[in-house]
Amino acid sequence: MDSMTLIAIISIITAGLTIAIGSIGPAFGEARAVASALTALAQQPDASVTITRTLFVGLAMIESVAIYCFVVSMILIFANPFWDHVIAQAAGK
C-alpha cells in the first residue's frame, strides 16, 4: 500500500470518526439543557423570555463543539492539506 492510499484511507475514516464521536457529547448536553429549560418554563411561564434567550445562547455554545467537529471532518474530506501535498508531489515527479 503506497502512502497515497494510506493517507486517503486514514483521512476518510478519521472524518467519519470525528463527526460520529464529536456529536455524542453535544447531543447529551443539548438534551440536558432543553430538558432543564422545559422544567423551568413549566414552573415559571412568566420568565419565558429570559429562559428562551438564555437557552438559545447556551444551545449555540454547546452546538459549536459539534460544529467544530463537522468543520474538521469537512476539511479532512474536501480540503485535506496532506492529500494536497501528496498530489503535488505526485504531479512533480
Binding site: T50, V57, I67, F70, V71
Partner: protein
C-alpha cells in the same frame, strides 16, 4: 463540490479575483441599502402607514427590545452596529430560496470579517463607557494571574463566533447539495426550509452574542463601588459568557 463560494471565480485580473462571496456580499449590501432608502423615503406618523414601514418598525423595535433585555441601558447607541449585523446575516440566509444564490456567510472570510468587527467594537464600547485605564484593569480581575486567560478567551470567542456561523451556513448548503444527488425531489425542499430556520436562529445568536459581549465589556468595567457579592456575581457572569 466546493466547500465555500470563495472557489467560484467570476472575473480575474492578476492578483485580484472577483469571487462569488464578494459579488453576493455586494448584492446584499445593495439590496439592504436601497431597500431601507426606499422604505424610509416617505415615513409617516399617522395611522395610515405603508406595510413596509410597519415591517421596518417591527424589526427596529424588536432589535431594540432584545438589546435592552440583555442589559444595555441605551439601546439606540448600539442599534446601528448590532442591527446591521443581524440584518446582514438574516438576509444572507433568507436569500437561499433564490436559485443560484450562494450565501456569502458560507465562506469563512465573511464570517471572520464579521467576527473581527465584533472583536474591535467590544473594546471600543468598553473604553467609551469606562475609560482606557478602567478597561485595561478589568483584564486583571479577579487577580493578575487571570490576565493571559482573559486575553485567550477574548481571542477564542472571536474564533468561535466566526467558525460557528461558517459551519452552520456551510453545512446547510452542503447537505442540500449531497441530498440532491441521493433524493432529488422532495427531501431537499424540507432541508432548505430547515436551513431557513437555522439561518434565522444563527443570525439571532450572532447578534445576541455580540450584544452579550458588549454588555459584559461595559458592565464589568464599572468602577469598583459595588459590594463584594455583586462584584463576584459580575465576574462569574463575565467568565461564563467568555466560554465559547
Amino acid at each position: 463540490m466546493s466547500l465555500s463560494p470563495d472557489n467560484i471565480i467570476y472575473w480575474q485580473m492578476g492578483f485580484f479575483k472577483l469571487n462569488a462571496t464578494i459579488v453576493f456580499t455586494w448584492g446584499l449590501i445593495l439590496v439592504l441599502v436601497i431597500g431601507s432608502k426606499l422604505i424610509t423615503r416617505k415615513l409617516s406618523t399617522g395611522l395610515q402607514r405603508s406595510r413596509w414601514q410597519n415591517l421596518m418598525e417591527i424589526i427596529v423595535t424588536g432589535i431594540n427590545q432584545q438589546i435592552e433585555e440583555v442589559g444595555l441601558e441605551n439601546p439606540q447607541k448600539y442599534l446601528g452596529f448590532l442591527g446591521s449585523l443581524f440584518l446582514f446575516v438574516a438576509v444572507a440566509s433568507l436569500f437561499t430560496i433564490v436559485p443560484g444564490y450562494e450565501p456569502p456567510t458560507g465562506s469563512l472570510s465573511t464570517t471572520a470579517a464579521l467576527a473581527i468587527c465584533v472583536f474591535v467594537v467590544v473594546p471600543m464600547f468598553g473604553i467609551e463607557e469606562a475609560g482606557i485605564g478602567q478597561y485595561l484593569k478589568a483584564y486583571t480581575r479577579p487577580t493578575i494571574i487571570m490576565l493571559p486567560f482573559n486575553i485567550i478567551s477574548e481571542i477564542s470567542r472571536t474564533l468561535a463566533l466566526a467558525v460557528r456561523l461558517f459551519g452552520n451556513m456551510m453545512s446547510g448548503t452542503l447537505i442540500i447539495a449531497i441530498l440532491l444527488t441521493i433524493t432529488p425531489f422532495v427531501f431537499p425542499i424540507i432541508m432548505s426550509a430547515l436551513g431557513l430556520l437555522t439561518g434565522m436562529v444563527q443570525a439571532y445568536i450572532f447578534t445576541i452574542l455580540a450584544t452579550v459581549y458588549i454588555a459584559a465589556a461595559t458592565r464589568a468595567r464599572k468602577p469598583v463601588q459595588e459590594t463584594e457579592s455583586e462584584n463576584r456575581k459580575n465576574n462569574t457572569n463575565h467568565m461564563g459568557i467568555n466560554h465559547g
